[in-house]
Symmetry: C2
Subunit: 403 residues, 2 copies
């Protein structure tokens, strides 16, 4: 098999951990696999480099930040390659440039445009391990660019696609994707597999296994990948194209997101245009709106409710006050201290009664539901933050995910 | 003027020093010059990176060492560029690759094969400062290579040639090239100018202003350069093509080299081949031979004397014992604790009596001369190490270099 493995900053965060990674790669190589490894900078290194730039300027050039920060991964690839040599494994390091990664867009948050795998394929065909720098590439002008948050996962999945890997393994500090947060729901189970869409929905509701854009890339190009632990050898969770048998599972997982707030705007005339104005004002103030619920109240005025992270609440209030100043009678209500509970599963499409099961479980537990929002494969509700853990457990139990 | 400046690791060894360099570059830029700056890694950084590799292996791959060590300069260029921006100076960093430096030969000690200045010329023509990483380039396979000791000086001179600079300034921690070591000869003078050949001869006898290969490159391509201090604004020493007026100075400088040893091999038949065998054996033992004096003694046997650094003496003795084992009667005499004094100057070609003046001065001071060796523009003698300082002063005085 041709396998791409990705190890994050924590996994290469010390000399001993780098040696541990080298041993894991050796095991895979000794089984007869062709292996390419994508690594991040040693944990702490990126922050250290950012700190160096801050010594020079409060507002350093993003182009130069990329020149500086990309040295972190370059150091990791050299050290891991040397560690592999020490174990007798032939290995060759490649920077983002040598991996053939072309980027575009803004520095510090570039996108991958293309990957030319010629050099990596040459190394692999010589029976050597490729050790590639994640998170980086060159734009068409030959300038170094970094990919921003989650960039190394994206590098790994894109490289796996480029070299035609059979599998991409994302090695991390969790054992895989769980049916719910194991710190909250004690009998949460590690899933054997999950579809891209389900992971995307879970990611969008706070399950921070991976950045959405990496999963989206994998989905777009059909790259199967496995999320597994770098600390043990247990199988993780395979993230793959949806297949018919997956629909037999009604709900794949229950996700929670804390620290939410709700803003409700009332007294808005039920006329076209106001919703757009409000959302535009919030967007310009960099408020990330999550759920949106709108309807017409008994008084004939529109009533718009939004949820957002509590950290955004101040900015949202300020933005809305400005826009409502024009409108006598427009009012803002806010509620902090709420949380969101989501059920996700492609089985929802072919199974009826999912919402009823979820709401019944919450009702029996005496938990009041605030807002409700649904998509094709997700149902989200808000509850009091103090009740979120109990809510997660009873819903998890109701769908028998813990067995 | 188009000027290339090179700052070494000490000059960019702290955030304050980087800011100091930025201010110096700004001053040059504000005068209307086109400026390209070549920088080394921050002092201590290269050793730190070497230390990281040693944590992984006692014998790390030289290819990977170059990947690792080259990150040092890449960090420097980003930091200096950010510091220049902070002063309002438009500046763009370039790695060895972006500077168009193609290398060849072995990793960790590569040679510069070619420089394509297109990108640097573009930046300069836009009125921006180029901040280039010294010490590094890419070989034809696109692999990162470093240039070894003195590599950043070489980068600067080669870049100055490539962009057609009017002048290359090597900024260092000395004020320029002196007529002798100022710690020994108190009235030693900073020279205004010196020819490439003279500096090469001084470099070869221990005046470690610059590595010979950088001077040789400058000579080959006629790149004028100035050695000057990064700590003040005084003019330094201009190193240029020899010109007729230079011959009016009989002796340019007096150089000393301590810690020398002499090995004399006696009882060798005066037959062809023996000198070659001896030198070959010493070379294979990595003994760096300096002076060689051979003649025939009264007994009809050849007598070969060599000088070398005292550190090489043990290896030389071991190598010679092996080769003399074949030869009954061949003997080795050794003498440590000697030093070498050299007078260098192209004026020597057109002035007679230089050796006489030198020997007279030493004789009058009661200093005994051991071996003598001459080239077209240099006379070297050995003396007892205890007498070298006195010897340097009297010879320096004899040629009136101190006035």
């Amino acid at each position: 098999m041709r396998i791409v493995q990705k190890y994050g900053g924590t996994s290469v965060g010390s000399y001993d951990r780098i040696r541990n990674v080298a041993n894991r790669v050796k095991a895979l190589y000794d089984e007869g696999n062709e292996v390419a490894v994508v690594v991040s900078a040693m944990s702490g290194m990126t922050n250290k480099l950012l700190g160096m730039a801050k010594e020079m300027s409060d507002n350093p050039s993003e182009r130069e930040m990329d020149v500086l920060v990309s040295t972190g991964e370059q150091q990791s690839i050299a050290l891991l390659t040397i560690a592999l040599h020490e174990l007798g494994i032939p290995a060759v390091s490649v920077t983002g440039r040598q991996a053939g990664v072309t980027t575009k867009g803004s520095n510090t948050r570039a996108r991958i445009q293309d990957i030319d795998p010629t050099y990596m394929n040459k190394i692999l065909s010589e029976g050597k391990v490729v050790v590639a720098a994640g998170f980086q590439g060159l734009n068409e002008e030959g300038e170094i660019q970094t990919l921003g948050r989650g960039g190394s996962d994206l590098s790994a999945i894109a490289l796996a696609h480029a070299v035609g890997a059979d599998l991409c393994q994302i090695l991390t500090d969790v054992n895989g994707v769980y049916t719910s947060d194991p710190r909250v729901v004690k009998n949460a189970q590690k899933m054997d597999e999950i579809s891209y869409d389900e992971l995307l929905e879970l990611a969008s509701v706070g399950t921070k296994v991976m950045q959405s854009r990496s999963v989206e890339f994998a989905k777009k190009f059909g790259v199967p990948f496995e999320v597994r632990s770098s600390l043990n050898n247990e199988p993780g969770t395979l993230v793959i194209e949806e297949k018919p048998s997956m629909e037999s599972v009604v709900i794949r997982g229950v996700s929670i997101e804390r620290n939410q707030a709700r803003v409700t705007v009332t007294g808005i005339p039920d006329e076209p245009g106001w919703s757009g104005k409000i959302l535009k004002a919030l967007g310009e103030s960099e408020v990330n709106i999550d759920m949106i619920v709108s309807n017409i109240a008994n008084d004939g005025f529109a009533r718009h409710s939004f949820t957002m992270n509590s950290d955004d609440l101040g900015r949202a209030q300020a933005a809305l006050k400005t826009i409502l100043a024009d409108l006598a009678g427009g009012q803002i209500e806010t509620e902090a201290g709420i949380a969101k509970l989501s059920c996700v599963g492609i089985g929802m499409r072919s199974h009826s009664g999912v919402a009823a099961t979820m709401f019944d479980a919450l009702g029996e537990a005496g938990i009041n539901i605030g807002m409700i929002s649904t998509s094709e494969i997700k149902i989200s509700v808000t509850v009091e933050e103090a009740e979120i853990e109990k809510a997660a457990q009873v819903v998890h139990d109701a769908f028998e995910l813990g067995a």
